[in-house]
Amino acid sequence: MTLPRPVAASCILVALALGPRAVAEPAASRAPDTNAPAVSPAPDTNADAPEVVQARKLFLQGVDLVKAAQWAGALAAFEKSEAIKPHATTTFNIAACERAMGRYTRARLHLASALSRNRDNPGELAPSLEQEAEGLMHQIDGILARVDIQLDPRSAAISVDGSPLHAVQRAKGTVYVAGIEKPGRGRVLGPAKFRAELDPGAHVITLSRKGYTDAVVNRVFAPGSTTALPLVLARLPATLDISSNVRGALVTVNHRDLGPVPVTVRRLAGTYRVVVSKEGYEPYEAQVLVHAGEHSNLRARLVEEKIPITKRWWFWTGAAVVVAGGAAATYALTRPAPSPPPYDGGTTGWVVKPTGYRF
């Protein structure tokens, strides 16, 4: 699709308003486009007030700059003029300059603003100019790129070209427009699905949310196109390193057997119950809170179990000597079969015993 040629004349020919004195100057500004609408500005009852004089001066500066096709300069002059004395015609001129510079979303916003102001202040826009404003809005609607964005998570902050999106209420609902807001951090919009409007061309869409990886999308959108753009941020996991002072101690995290220390696991941010245990030691238990992207170290210090006298080695050894002496004679007569060797856990030391399980 070919973009329409910027309409310089519209900007020039509306250089008429801002009070009775401005009315005397339209002829000089009309030459480039005889098809452009004429303007009949409403008389200003305070035409000689200093601020009006200044606004008019800036306005005419803008007109001169337009004649030289210096759109950025003209825009600045019209904006200053409007800041001093708002007027629907000035707003229209701003829109025309923005449009000439290819900033269609801004142009559309200013056209809508000019029409709105004209409704509140009837006569600020001549009927022909009002009609042109509506026609330009329709034309811009055919140029803008529409992007149906689906965000996951919906709480991600989004920016386009380094600026947050600007919410605009339309008849069919809220539309988020790029290129309006000043540069700044992305903003959380709320809905998970929404439509964004962008100028056609290349854009950088940035997403961020704490606990998730940032995302940057470079895309070119064609004029008048509608694009579906799902944007799903990946969660940042947390890393948990678990070690112990006792070699071979077994680790479970939320009751899942993770084998002997040291253990490194990646999990989502949250709280986990960690148990490190080994026979002969008091189990180490902890609730561990890990944040997204965090690398957390947990060293489980195991303490030997307190052994009652019946569990002291010398007690049983002594007892064994006494008992064994008595048992020896009996044993010599009965000679029971020796105990089988222990099961072999191999290099991992793990012996699985699928016993006692019922279907």
Partner: protein, 453 residues
């Protein structure tokens, strides 16, 4: 302790000299040819019943990758003589889901049925790279001899010699057979996983998922992005045309090319050149643009597969690379400006920290870079041939509705973007005629290579 008692008793009792015979058990032996931890840093071992369910509450355990191979563990036969199955997955902790269990197919998944036990019955379950990425279901398993899914087999005793980790032939390091030219560095050939299991752009065409096993021959890569001085020399000698773009507008004011006779920016990386111009410049030097796979292999430090060219830490990108240095009124990110003296735009020489272990500089940022491939999502036919992709280069763009005009791949981040595209695996697309101060290039050249000792 009772053990002492038992021990003392055993000493006495054992005087009889009789020896107990071994009880029935299985000793499961695991061996792999996979480079570890590159292709797997964890093991998930499960003992399953014939329904594919875990046979007991303690029948599943995760291990860190063993430090010694072969690894082994024991299984005691159940009293009810059920037939049991063993399933072992060698996977990467980076490729796990929210629950910490492995996700996707980019792992080795081995299964086998346990035979009837007779004494200490040793059985062997191989974890072979031939089966990497081959998904199987209950009752089936990847045959390590063919790499194809077949019916699950009964496990048998290990046959020596067992494979050793890293013995998978495609992963062998292949050095450049000859010296590389000045300004280039040899990137020895090897194998790696193109892409990343967790994309920062899941669900979009430019997401670097799913991963693909890639084998590369040795090649040489330019240490630096091509400079204006280099480019000017080629233009002056009539080998190539001067680039068309000049820095006059909002979007081109950071173009570094100032004209064939202007040496002001000679040390700056050249930008605002089209893909075609970049290819021509490399060709005039007897080189070519690097492929996506070569670029990523280099940026990820080969088999180390680091997140960024400088390592895995992306917490301080403003110091690590040239990113987020746009002018505040131009629409790109500029959060690094306060930390870097408010210097806007690309930088001559970039940042020292943005270098790979082999010394290739500024792959992360400064300018993003044209590569040789046409852009296709990793789900497109270019990337989905069965088996290993050997020296892949995608010459066919697979346009989608969203990327119709963006049919050339671009790698790396730039002064006009954030650190996210600086990740080695991140990829982007652009139109081949795009002229932007964000994008430059470097060249590569194929090398012949011998095998490592």
């Amino acid at each position: 302790m009772r053990r002492a008692f038992l021990l003392a008793s055993a000493v006495v009792i054992g005087c009889g000299g009789r020896t107990a015979s071994a009880r029935d058990q299985w000793s499961v032996v695991l061996a792999t040819d996979a480079p570890v931890p590159q292709f797997g840093d964890r093991l998930l071992v499960e003992i399953l019943d014939s329904n594919g369910d875990t046979a007991c509450p303690g029948c599943r355990r995760e291990f860190g990758v063993p430090s010694t191979w072969p690894a082994s563990f024991g299984i005691v036969p159940p009293p009810d003589a059920r037939r049991l199955h063993v399933r072992v997955r060698l996977y990467r902790s980076a490729a796990t889901g929210d629950d910490g269990l492995p996700t996707g197919d980019e792992l080795i998944d081995a299964r086998g049925q346990l035979p009837a036990p007779h004494g200490d019955t040793a059985v062997y379950l191989p974890l072979m790279m031939r089966c990497f990425g081959v998904a199987s279901a209950a009752g089936t398993s990847c045959d390590p001899a063919t790499g194809e899914v077949d019916s699950e087999k009964e496990l048998s005793a290990p046959a020596l010699p067992l494979p050793e980790p890293g013995s998978w032939a495609p992963a062998a390091t292949r050095d450049c057979a000859s010296a590389v030219t000045d300004g280039m560095v040899c990137i020895p050939g090897g194998a790696f996983l193109l892409g990343t299991p967790h994309s920062f752009l899941n669900g979009t065409e430019s997401a670097p998922t799913p991963e693909h096993v890639v084998q590369l021959s040795p090649f040489a890569m330019d240490v630096d992005e091509m400079t204006v001085g280099d480019y000017r020399q080629l233009v002056s000698s009539g080998q190539i045309e001067a680039p068309q773009a000049h820095g006059t507008t909002d979007t081109t004011q950071f173009c570094t090319w100032l004209g064939a006779n202007d040496a002001t920016n000679d040390a700056m990386p050249v930008n605002c050149v089209t893909w075609t111009e970049a290819k021509a410049a490399c060709a005039s030097l007897g080189k070519r643009l690097p492929t996506e796979a070569e670029w990523e292999f280099t940026a990820g430090n080969r088999e180390q597969e680091t997140t960024y060219p400088w390592g895995n830490d992306g917490s301080d990108p403003c110091k690590e690379t040239v990113v987020a240095r746009d002018a505040p009124n131009l629409g790109g990110p500029y959060f690094c400006l306060p930390e870097t003296g408010n210097v806007v735009g690309p930088q001559a020489g970039g940042v020292d920290a943005d270098a790979t272990g082999l010394g290739v500089r500024n792959l992360g940022g400064n300018l993003d870079e044209w590569v040789a491939d046409r852009f296709s999502p990793y789900t497109a036919p270019c990337w989905t041939a069965s088996g290993i992709l050997v020296n892949p280069r995608c010459d066919v763009s697979t346009p989608t509705a969203d990327l119709a005009a963006l049919d050339v791949s671009v790698r790396g981040s730039s002064w006009r973007s954030t650190e996210a595209p600086a990740a080695a695996a991140a990829r982007n697309a652009a139109g081949p005629a795009l002229v932007t101060p964000r994008t430059g290039f470097r060249c590569a050249v194929s090398m012949t290579g011998g095998n490592s000792p």
